[in-house]
């Protein structure tokens, strides 16, 4: 039976792709639908499921804390993406030269990217400790006020952003770097003939030539920022005063700590719509403004 299938040239390709498609369907496509179904039920994972219609969503949008959760998620996204892109670009420009020093620094700045985010979080919990953490010890050594990195509701979300930026800026810089290095030399030579200033060259040649890469990275970072979980769970647990509670973390907390699966699924639906919306809007807005080679 199996051999006959493999010998039939028309059926063979289907047999070859079937395992992959089955897994993708079971673990990615079906769960999206199943999640939508769960969102209209009330369920504690053990007992029977009870249909509640849009009850979960109604509760969600009347919950004053939920507005805060969305705000946290968007603020986190805005800070994380802009810092990664700005520092990534600066770092890439700095590393854009030959020689062992540049190569060494590329390795050093990339290293955090291969380390588990859990490990990174544990290290920064220690560094950001209020009383004895290295950061505050350095601040007080130079005569500055200590900062409540993870205990001050005004600061905690930013501290999580810092950790994430620290981990991923090297990767972003090296991707931008390889885009920089693929810009054809003759463009700069032509600009030199025209006596273009360094700033003009940067604005008129460098930026347009790497804009497809920048565009790609912004989107990847935006989608990645919605998935930030490890730092939150290890470093702040959503606190202090819910200041670091984001959409993905509330899905986890409602579902797995409070066993409100339907409610959690409803939050996941909101998150999915948000990610989809941003992706579509983003492609629409930038499609024509990006310079493609």
């Amino acid at each position: 039976m199996k051999n006959a299938l493999l010998r039939d040239r028309r059926l063979l390709p289907y047999a070859l792709i079937a395992p992959a498609l089955v897994i993708l369907a079971v673990f990615y496509l079906y769960p999206i639908g199943y999640n939508a179904v769960l969102s209209v039920f009330s369920w504690d994972l053990r007992g029977p499921m009870k249909f509640v219609g849009f009850g979960n969503f109604a509760e969600l949008f009347t919950d004053p804390d939920f507005g805060k959760v969305i705000q946290n998620t968007l603020v986190y996204m805005g800070m994380e993406v802009s810092l990664v892109m700005i520092f990534g670009l600066i770092l890439a420009l700095f590393l854009n030269r030959q020689g062992w020093l540049s190569e060494f620094l590329q390795g050093v700045s990339f290293a955090p990217n291969v380390i588990a985010l859990v490990s990174v979080s544990l290290i920064f919990v220690w560094l950001m400790d209020d009383d004895i953490g290295l950061f505050n010890q350095i601040l007080s050594a130079v005569g500055l006020e200590p900062v409540g990195w993870l205990s001050d509701p005004q600061v905690a979300l930013f501290s999580l952003v810092l950790v994430s930026v620290w981990k991923s800026v090297g990767l972003n810089a090296l991707i931008i770097l390889s885009a920089l290095q693929s810009i054809p030399r003759y463009l700069f030579e032509a600009a030199d003939l025209d006596n273009a200033s360094a700033w003009t060259r940067f604005r008129r040649i460098t930026i347009p030539m790497i804009s497809p890469t920048l565009f790609f990275l912004v989107l990847v970072n935006v989608i990645g920022s919605f998935q930030a979980f490890d730092t939150i769970n290890v470093m702040t647990q959503g606190g202090p005063q819910s200041s670091t509670n984001t959409l993905i973390f509330s899905v986890y907390r409602e579902g797995f700590e409070y066993y409100r699966v339907g409610y959690a699924a409803a939050i996941a639906v909101v998150l999915m719509v948000l990610v989809g919306l941003i992706t579509v809007l983003y492609f629409r807005a930038f499609q024509k403004r990006v310079h493609y080679r």
Binding site: L16, P31, Y34, N35, S109, V118, I123, W166, F256, A265
Partner: protein
């Protein structure tokens, strides 16, 4: 100072009618030397700034790792000292022994190896045939199905953990290694990369093999895979690092320790350290050091694997 770096005397501009040779004008006029000195100074400043920035970069990116290692070898009182100690007097393994005493690291490390190894192996069993079919066959619905594969790449995996958990609970798959392997072996990204590579293999090679009555399996094994080696290594490295480091899925898809991996176990040590995180940092090193060694050994390859995915 200026005289030592001043260039040899330039010919003086002598438009004056009174014998230029007898002119008492000093050989180096400021108007010609200053720009050169400024340029030289600028260069020195730039090199100096470069060195400073380089040192800062090393401090920023390697510093936290150093701090982890340092704390792991310190006693609690050393770790707590004010001002901080940047060195240890004696290498002590107490924190590592304590970490092993309280948490069964052997068990979690074995789970990590099983899940990472299983994902790597399973992934190539699944994606190689799929990528081959998408690259080398004409069949009905091919482009639509490939579009579906690409679309799954856009779905953040963390959005589907809840329904998958419910599914696992019904199927009795909770707390099995398989549950942590299965969703990740049909990577859309891997299929995409491999397909690109397979499409570049010259037709003539495959035609020749078919004339020799080679089976599709032989073609894949003898022609496709050897030519796709760099891509296979790229996918393998990314999968290895991603799976070894994964915290979220082993956390949310398990209810007991049976299949949990190292990243879930290490943060537990936090509860053990009452005053200083010396034991946490020791446990943390067990998670970090294997990956760091792999990174040091295959640095160029890992960097190009990760950055390749960003350019085209």
């Amino acid at each position: 100072m200026t005289t030592t770096i001043a260039p040899p005397a330039p010919p003086t501009a002598s438009g004056s009618p009174h014998g230029a040779a007898a002119s008492p004008v000093p050989p180096t006029t400021p108007s010609t030397a200053a720009p050169k000195i400024a340029a030289l100074l600028g260069k020195v400043v730039r090199i100096f700034a470069r060195i400073i920035v380089s040192i800062l970069l090393v401090l920023v990116f390697a510093g936290p790792f150093y701090w982890m290692v340092l704390t792991a070898f310190q006693t609690a009182s050393e770790a707590l000292s004010i001002p901080p100690q940047f060195w240890v007097d004696a290498v002590r393994w107490d924190n590592f022994i304590a970490a092993f005493d309280r948490v069964n690291f052997g068990h979690f490390a074995l789970n990590s190896v099983i899940v990472t190894g299983g994902t790597l192996l399973g992934q190539f069993l699944i994606i190689v045939p799929a990528a081959y079919a998408f690259a080398r066959f004409q069949f009905k619905g091919r482009d639509v199905l490939f579009g579906v594969v690409l679309a799954t790449m856009m779905i953040p995996g963390q959005l589907i953990f809840l329904p998958v958990f419910a599914m696992y609970a019904k199927m009795g798959l909770l707390n099995t290694h398989l549950s942590l392997i299965l969703p990740f072996i049909a990577s859309g990204f891997g299929i995409f990369l491999l397909r690109q590579t397979f499409m570049r293999v010259p037709d003539s090679l495959i035609e020749a093999a078919r004339l020799d009555h080679a089976s599709e399996f032989t073609i894949i094994r003898r022609i496709m895979l050897p030519l796709a080696k760099p891509t296979i290594v790229t996918i393998g490295l990314i999968t290895f690092i991603g799976t070894w480091n994964n915290y979220f899925f082993p956390l949310v898809w398990t209810t007991t320790d049976a299949a949990r991996t190292l990243p879930v176990a290490v943060p537990r040590l936090e509860a053990l350290d009452e005053i200083a995180p010396t034991i946490v940092m020791a446990g943390n090193m067990l998670l970090v050091v294997p990956i760091l060694i792999v990174f040091l050994l295959a640095r160029r390859h890992i960097i190009s694997a990760f950055t390749y995915t960003g350019v085209k």
